[in-house]
């Protein structure tokens, strides 16, 4: 933990509830505890205990906030579709709906399908939640609140999220079910494909910030990277949608078309774990987007305030994160599901080439800017080059679409003229 404030020091501090509460408000509790315990315990032990406290706090918080997220999602989606949504359990707004769902899941029978590979079948739900939680270790919540500011911060996130792909194969294989295996294969194809543009687009913030430390990525954003590198942000957002398997890329578990995909054979809490991991990682993607493109906990320097700055930073971060999360829900409520060939084409034939070109353009443009240039000048040049690349890409896409439409219409016309059946003619006459 990096502490900005070194107020808490002194060899013979004793625990004091007022100071403790004050340190909570300042978000310097760990420095406070460190100062209190200093001398009683060895430094290594203190750090280990603080780590455990931090991990338990963050993980418990995440598991609990998922209850709220599920409710929020159902409510917002319902509103978008002109429904009411949950409205019975827990008052008018159905606040306890998710709690009821959890209780239901808890009392389900745990079944293992016949012929299942027990190791893989039971390991998959564990691993999927573990990877979803582990990614949070490097997210900076506030100026002085971050699990650990690794020197490979953003790269670590990518590494852990790519490891989560394996759990799908475990689940698909372990279930001993053709549909599950097929679903797992398709999911893996999707995740693996969209990981490429995601990785490439994340190179750009690192290029701009010249660092992989998450805190330095935040500090480098005098101008938020959403403005400096909008294309990279858009590519990241699209691939984040696909990586978390949300609409319009939720064809892994298109309930209305195929059975649920790789987790058909899971029931009760084991299924709940997949659900949980999906929400935790969606929230994580929102948090990551807020951190690397929206400036994280920054708000015009207000977070630099002496006493309440860190708390303000925390609140700002959460507001940004939930704003991004809301966009995730919004997209889900607005867009229809795409077909698998469209999805893969979009990735390999549009996003990957685009992000490759973008990396090249940003790398070269960044070196062409004179060294002494100010932040705003740099941001402006990058913005212009980004918009230029984006414009060209969209124009190419538009022409391609026009060509496709022409081909399709021609085929339609030919089909009509060759068939030339009386019914068709009659319909045309009407």
């Amino acid at each position: 933990m990096h502490g900005l404030a070194a107020h808490w020091s002194g060899p013979d501090m004793s625990f004091n509830i007022v100071d403790f509460l004050f340190s909570l408000v300042q978000l310097t509790t760990f420095d406070y505890l460190r100062a209190v315990w200093e001398g009683d315990m060895s430094p290594g032990l203190i750090e280990a205990i603080l780590d455990v406290i931090a991990i338990l706090t963050v993980s418990t918080f995440l598991l609990l906030i998922v209850l709220f997220l599920i409710w929020l999602e159902r409510k917002v989606i319902a509103r978008i579709q002109d429904r009411i949504g949950p409205n019975r359990v827990g008052g008018r707004f159905g606040l306890l709906q998710t709690v009821a769902d959890v209780l239901k899941l808890l009392t389900k029978e745990t079944l293992t399908p016949a012929g299942a590979d027990t190791i893989a079948y039971n390991l998959a739900p564990l691993l999927t939640v573990m990877t979803a939680l582990l990614m949070w270790a490097v997210i900076p919540f506030a100026p002085n609140v971050i699990g650990v500011d690794l020197n490979v911060g953003l790269f670590y996130v990518l590494a852990v999220s790519s490891a989560s792909v394996v759990t799908l194969l475990l689940a698909g294989w372990g279930s001993n079910n053709k549909y599950a295996l097929l679903g797992a294969f398709r999911s893996v194809a999707q995740l693996v494909s969209y990981e490429v543009p995601m990785v490439l687009s994340l190179i750009i913030p690192i290029l701009l910030a010249r660092s992989m430390y998450m805190q330095e990525l935040v500090l480098a954003q005098t101008v938020p990277f959403l403005i400096v590198a909008p294309l990279s942000a858009i590519i990241f957002f699209i691939s984040a949608l696909a990586e978390t398997g949300r609409t319009p890329f939720d064809l892994l578990e298109a309930e209305s078309e195929i059975v649920a995909g790789f987790h058909v054979e899971y029931g009760g809490m084991k299924f709940g774990m997949f659900f949980l991991a999906e929400f935790v990682s969606t929230l994580f993607m929102s948090g990551l987007f807020a951190t690397i493109y929206l400036g994280g906990w920054r708000l015009f320097g207000l977070e630099r305030l002496e006493t309440f700055g860190p708390l303000l930073g925390l609140i700002v971060f959460f507001i940004k994160m939930f704003a991004v999360y809301f966009v995730f829900i919004w997209v889900r409520g607005t867009l229809p599901r795409v077909r698998i060939d469209q999805m893969l084409d979009l990735n390999w034939k549009f996003l990957v080439p685009l992000s490759l070109i973008l990396v090249l353009v940003v790398a070269v443009v960044d070196k062409l800017i004179p060294a002494g240039a100010g932040d705003y000048y740099r941001a402006g040049v990058h913005l212009v080059s980004n918009v230029a690349v984006g414009f060209v890409a969209l124009e190419l896409l538009r022409r391609h679409a026009a060509r496709q439409r022409a081909i399709y219409e021609e085929r339609l016309v030919r089909a009509h003229s060759s068939a030339a059946e009386p019914e068709v003619m009659a319909e045309a006459a009407h």
Binding site: A48, D51, I55, S59, L106, T107, K108, E109, T110, L111, T112, P113, A114, L126, T128, V129, M130, L133, L134, A137, G147, V148, V152, F155, Y156, N176, N177, K178, Y179, L182, F185, V188, A189, V192, S193, E195, V196, L200, I203, R210, S211, M212, V259, E265, M269, K270, G272, M273, D341, L344, D345, W348, K349, P353, V359, L360, A363, V364, K367, L368
Partner: protein, 118 residues
């Protein structure tokens, strides 16, 4: 340095608790009356035929293949991006060459029709 990773290590050691606790609670609370019918594999109500082996397309392998190549590329590019301050214009051109060489591979796969979902 090692102290940084200590956090990750402890996290890795503790993180199985969070998914395991609900699953175990589920196992304790739920009924336990398995029977062969319940344990059947779900195939839309039809009995399973054969074992769980289907002819997979090579397509899947090709996607994973291109992914592997670009993943390794990222491993090279990330440290370079992090060190971009210390580099000159020439380094930028080396990166361009590096990426373009790999883009040729992508172009080959594309022109060969290997990226097509059929």
């Amino acid at each position: 340095m090692l102290a940084d990773w200590q956090f990750i290590g402890i996290f890795l050691a503790l993180s199985p608790i969070f998914p395991a606790a609900p699953v175990i609670a589920n196992w304790l609370l739920g009924p336990r009356k398995p029977n062969p019918l319940k344990q059947q594999t779900y195939e839309c109500g039809v009995e399973t035929v054969g074992d769980t082996w289907i002819q997979f397309k090579v397509q899947y392998y090709i996607y994973a293949l291109v992914f592997v190549v670009f993943d390794v590329e990222a491993v090279f590019l990330f440290p370079i991006a992090a060190a971009y301050d210390q580099l000159g214009l020439f380094a930028a051109f080396e990166v361009v060459v590096f990426v373009l060489i790999l883009a040729v591979g992508l172009g080959y796969a594309w022109s060969r029709g290997a990226l097509e979902w059929t």
